[in-house]
Amino acid sequence: MILRYSDEVLINGLRQRKQRHIDYLYQEFTPVVRHFVKQNSGNQCDVDDLVQDAMIVLYKRILKQPFELKCSLKTFFISICKNLWLQRLDNKYRLLFQADFEVREPQEAYSFEEAEINEDNNVKRRLMYKNIQSLPVDCQHLLELHFLKVPYKEIAKLLKFADDLAVKARKYHCKGLLRKKIMNDPEYYQYFEYERYGNHKRLD
């Protein structure tokens, strides 16, 4: 038997990133998204990516206070998916017909007001996450601990390294490996070629 959750409970669950609520959202909303994507020249991989991206957009939207829902959560979620899918089709069309990246139109025409509903950001995030998952397990743990601001000495104890210098060296190696993996990912070239030769400005 499957429990039914109200929208409010689901929103709170997603805000706190509770696994059971995420599972429920995924199982409840995916069939509709799947139907929509398959009707619009997509496949199962596209469905998985789209649901993941939409859930992150929804999560970020929920974190912003105040979050007021004017329709059901399912309708809201589907509209995010449709929006993202239109952006993705737009990108695919550009790649297919070799459109010039320098004259990219702004995508606001298809998007919500929020900056986080941006296809490029989603693709980047997904690409990076996919490659993080393909790192050796010790690298994944090390980088996770490092970004959780665990001191190097503590990491050395936890992951059984000789000392903090060894941890640092391994961290540099893992980051280097991850960057190389991302740069060699075919999707990277598909979506980010224009950035590679463009003017890169540091954000600080």
Binding site: I2, D23, Q27, Q52, I56, Y129, M183
Partner: protein, 261 residues
């Protein structure tokens, strides 16, 4: 300052503001000249941002876990999937069994032919057909052990070489050339040429392309002196995995993989 060499850790240290003023100035100057380094810095910056966004990282992990779980609502589909898998296994087993019986039959027939060489009228007709049209008979007969071993040999061409797999996609930050194509892992049909294209960063240097098979044996090597591209012909190569290396001045620039099918 010119003696400084940028190592792997510099990108991390630059993005985490750990470089001193002199190192930072040197690094920025290098970045202006080297687009590959700029790209790496950009990726590192994005990675740092993603890792620092703990909530999103945690959520992505949990969504991933949700995607791995079977869909409980769609139980009928999973039953169908199991049934289809079982059926597939049974059919595969029957086919394998038939192949084994056929081969035993061939061996047995071969032995009986040796015992009684072409005495019956049927054997005579068969031997006449064999002599007149050997190609047609070849099409009719089942696979022999030799053919099976040939297929097995072909299959072995697709076993990756672990030592080289680790290096696939490796790119050194060489200031000499920058490779534009092919991509690190290329799937192509047998016979389609592979186009190597690169850009010299300042002056032209000799470029060496070396190709190894999946057993680590060197199968091809060429030295290009002035051109900035090379078309690798794969027409007579058997299907399988090949690894290529681009070398200039005895330094490997990058390594990739070609899968010929």
């Amino acid at each position: 300052m010119n003696d400084m060499e940028i190592t792997n850790d510099w990108i991390d240290r630059y993005n985490e503001n750990e470089l001193n003023e002199e190192e930072k100035a040197f690094f920025i100057k290098r970045m202006e000249l080297n687009p590959l380094l700029r790209t790496e810095v950009l990726i590192d910056e994005c990675l740092n941002r993603l890792y620092q966004d703990e909530g999103t990282m945690d959520l992505m992990k949990k969504i991933h876990m949700a995607q791995q779980k079977p869909d409980r609502r769609d139980g009928r589909f999973s039953y169908l999937l199991i049934a289809a898998s079982l059926l597939y296994l049974i059919v595969l087993g029957v086919i394998l069994k038939m192949v084994v019986i056929d081969q035993e039959d061939i061996v047995a027939k071969g032995q009986s032919h040796r015992d009684e060489p072409g005495n019956s009228p049927a054997a005579k007709i068969v031997s006449e057909v064999f002599q007149k049209n050997p190609a047609a008979v070849k099409n009719l007969r089942p696979q022999t052990w030799n053919e099976n071993s040939h297929n097995l040999y072909l299959a072995m061409n697709y076993i990756p070489l672990p030592d080289y797999e680790l290096l696939v996609g490796s790119v050194t930050r060489s200031a000499r050339i920058e490779l534009r194509s092919p991509i690190a892992i290329l799937n192509i049909q047998q016979g389609i040429p592979v186009k190597f294209k690169w850009v010299y960063q300042d002056k032209k240097v000799p470029v060496n392309i070396v190709v190894y098979d999946n057993r680590g044996r060197r199968v091809f090597e060429t030295l290009i002196l002035l051109d900035d591209s090379y078309k690798l012909v794969t027409k007579y190569w058997p299907g399988g995995i090949y690894y290529w290396k681009i070398i200039t001045d005895e330094e490997m620039i990058c390594m990739g993989k070609i899968i010929l099918f």
